[in-house]
């Protein structure tokens, strides 16, 4: 199985996603503070195979996948499935007709 991307790339990916979500002020967000804090805490470890570091790396990769795929899913949804139904005027206009107008309102309308 291919190994995960390096922690630096994952970190930069997460920051890019946060910037896409929040705009220019992403550095003040809670998620930014937490992610940077976690990265700093887990950077230095004495053992060669540190389980907490592996867990943190996997968790960060998972979070990056979550942010990226929700963004892509939402983009695809808006692109292909977001239009909704046409209004009755547009539907009539498709075949070249217009809806009738009744100046006094229909019987049940007030």
């Amino acid at each position: 199985m291919a190994s995960l991307a390096s922690p630096l790339r994952v970190c930069r990916g997460i920051l890019k996603e946060l910037r896409a979500i929040q705009g220019p002020s992403y550095k003040q967000s809670l998620a930014y503070a937490y992610v940077m804090d976690q990265y700093r805490k887990n950077k230095v470890t004495g053992e060669r195979y540190c389980r907490a570091q592996q867990e943190a790396h996997h968790a960060s990769h998972t979070y990056l996948c979550l942010l990226a795929s929700t963004r892509n899913h939402l983009a695809l949804h808006n692109l292909y499935h977001g239009k909704g139904e046409r209004s009755p005027e547009e539907v009539a206009g498709l075949v070249g007709l217009r809806l009738p107008t009744q100046p006094g309102g229909k019987g049940w309308e007030k």
């Binding site: 867990e55 996948c65 979550l66 795929s69 892509n72 939402l74």
Partner: protein
């Protein structure tokens, strides 16, 4: 003007009434509206009693659809949920807020299930596990399944000391009772929240083997999703990709699986920071 009312399946019924601004924003399961306007500006978290974290939208506390106060056991989960709410623009799109949905399910437990029922439901997937179901033809697909799925099966057999075969018959493989007991014991060691997340992931990937492989950090989310959709990927490579169906499904599956995996990991970890003094 007569406005058409959109029906979205039998679970949700859309009431075309302007959303009323309650003092407490309680959303009910039965009358969930598909679109709500964003009614807050800031999202923040706070720590309540018992060390549980709560989410504040402006100054109102977030509540679950069942009416309970929305509390999470640790800060990381709270921040993930807060980021989801913060990511909404103008309208609230609940189908993108996977962590919130998982937390709501774990808190409310609307189907009133206990741990044993959930473990049984999860183990039922073992009998029809994706990784164990092979085809006989076309030959390229058989090879692909053997190359991609067999290593995962070997890994899980070694890790848990069990045997699961793969079969190409319509009934599926015979899973010995010892295997099921081992898994049952393993699943019992997770707490209720983690089990909710784990069962969600198993339902999404349609495979116990792949879900455990991902939770145990043997597979990444993208790899697990790829293996779960192996036959679809094979057909896509053969016949071409349809973006509005294939990519859409893939991203949705990735998002849900990633949310479930993160949920399990955050619910079952307890981190302590041990500072070692550098001795010089």
């Amino acid at each position: 003007m007569f406005r058409s009312i959109v029906r979205l399946g039998n679970a949700l019924s859309l009431n075309k009434v302007c959303p009323r601004r309650h003092q407490r924003c309680a959303l009910k399961y039965s009358t969930a509206a598909a679109e709500r306007k964003k009614f807050y500006e800031d999202v923040s978290i706070s720590q309540g009693e018992g060390g549980l974290f709560e989410i504040n939208l402006d100054r109102r506390k977030l509540k679950t659809p069942g009416g309970k106060l929305f509390t999470v056991p640790n800060e990381a989960l709270a921040i993930a949920v807060a980021t989801e709410w913060d990511a909404q623009r103008e309208t609230l799109k609940f189908y993108t807020m996977h962590m919130t949905t998982l937390c709501n399910t774990a808190l409310d437990n609307p189907t009133q299930r206990d741990k044993d029922q959930m473990i049984n439901a999860a183990l039922k997937f073992l009998e029809t596990d994706t990784v164990c179901y092979r085809v006989d033809e076309p030959h390229a697909l058989v090879e692909l399944q053997k190359n991609e799925w067999d290593p995962v099966l070997h890994w899980i057999e070694n890790r848990y000391n069990i045997t699961i075969g793969s079969s190409s018959s319509i009934l599926g493989p015979e899973i010995p009772e010892a295997t099921k007991d081992t898994f049952r014991q393993h699943l019992n060691s997770y707490n209720f929240w983690s089990l909710t997340g784990l069962e969600y992931v198993i339902t999404q990937l349609k495979s116990v083997v792949l879900s455990l492989g991902m939770i145990d950090r043997h597979l990444s989310v993208e790899q697990a999703v790829l293996l779960s959709r192996l036959e679809e990927e094979y057909q896509i490579r053969r016949w071409g990709n349809v973006e509005w169906a294939h990519d859409y499904d893939m991203y949705e599956l990735r998002a849900r699986t990633a949310a479930g995996a993160l949920f399990v990991q955050l619910s079952s970890e307890s981190s302590t920071v041990k500072r070692k003094l550098l001795q010089d």
